[in-house]
Symmetry: C2
Subunit: 198 residues, 2 copies
């Protein structure tokens, strides 16, 4: 079927089919839909995609995707002095949305996964120790995903933080189905998990 679609459209379809959960059929649908949009939409979208990494930076303290060096949560003095450790900014958004948490965050940038070549040094772990010391937190909530990689990461962090005096390490209360992905859970499940942390 490749010969049925113009090469430039084919190349676009190939690239779009790399998006998470998108197969060739959906990618084709997106590509043909894009073809029908006006130049304005296309050039704006193209430009945003091309420059998204330049436009978005990370908070230098919690490593959340943000537009400034220090994010609004890290600079908010009314926030409690506890740190919720998450794998990604998406997970942070999910927890923040519950409205039940008024502490700080630390975004790891993934989970330990040796099979995929993600080792502890690829995550913001030494930065987590710095973060804990800088704000002198008494509690660190481990909110990694309830997957093998997330659990491994949580165990690693727990051992790492044992060396820090006066820091209590808790994990999100289970009730999270093992294998689930934090960002897909409903707010209520996340709220409960937060409340039942141990």
């Amino acid at each position: 079927m490749d010969s049925l679609v113009p090469p430039s459209l084919n190349e676009l379809i190939e690239q779009l089919s790399e998006l998470p959960g998108v197969g060739r059929k959906t990618a084709m649908r997106y590509a043909f839909w894009l073809m029908e949009q006006n130049e304005d939409y296309l050039s704006t979208l193209g430009d945003r995609i091309a420059h998204i990494k330049e436009a978005v930076t990370m908070c230098q303290r919690c490593f959340r995707s943000f537009e400034r060096q220090m994010c609004d949560i890290c600079t908010d003095n009314t926030r409690e002095n506890i740190i919720c450790v998450v794998e990604s900014t998406e997970d942070l958004v999910q927890i923040e949305r519950t409205g039940d948490y008024n502490g700080r965050y630390h975004v790891l940038g993934g989970a330990i996964d040796p099979l995929k070549g993600v080792n502890p040094e690829d995550l913001t772990l030494s930065e987590l120790t710095d973060h804990v010391r800088t704000i002198g937190t008494a509690e660190v909530i481990l909110a990694t995903n309830p997957t093998m990689q997330g659990d491994t990461t949580a165990t690693y962090i727990r051992q790492m933080l044992e060396r820090e005096d006066g820091v209590q390490v808790t994990t999100l209360g289970r009730g999270l189905a093992t294998g689930a992905n934090l960002e897909y859970l409903d707010g209520e499940t996340v709220k409960n998990a937060l409340k039942n942390r141990r």
Copy 2:
């Protein structure tokens, strides 16, 4: 939650959520995934999206998306002299994939839909008459989608072509579920509909 995501990322999410079948959640997933890709992928993808309309043109005879003025089907002398009328290039691809059709095509660029402001003059209808005359076809197969808009368009074309001498107008054999969308059907259904055309 808008304030939780950097503005530039938010703008990208807004735009991605306009893609067909994509909600804010999926758009966010795409945006965060894009953030993790390398500069090369992003600049290539951005560039392709921005310039897709320039890169892809339409065959001046059948109005299929193609990279040249006249497409490989229209210039293929071994093709039968019948014209299959479809709404979009995607539908053409779907029929061509069955391998059961060896005629020509004519892409309308949509279906008559007054509520959405799509009138007969917005489609390639006068060009269809030209096409019919230029190649002197004896049969036109109407393969518009089995929806109200598609049926309206088929009726309109049938009346339009009554004025052309010696042109038989057929429609795809039903078996297509009403309300279905051609591009999502399996090859077998399309094959049968093609065989049972009346």
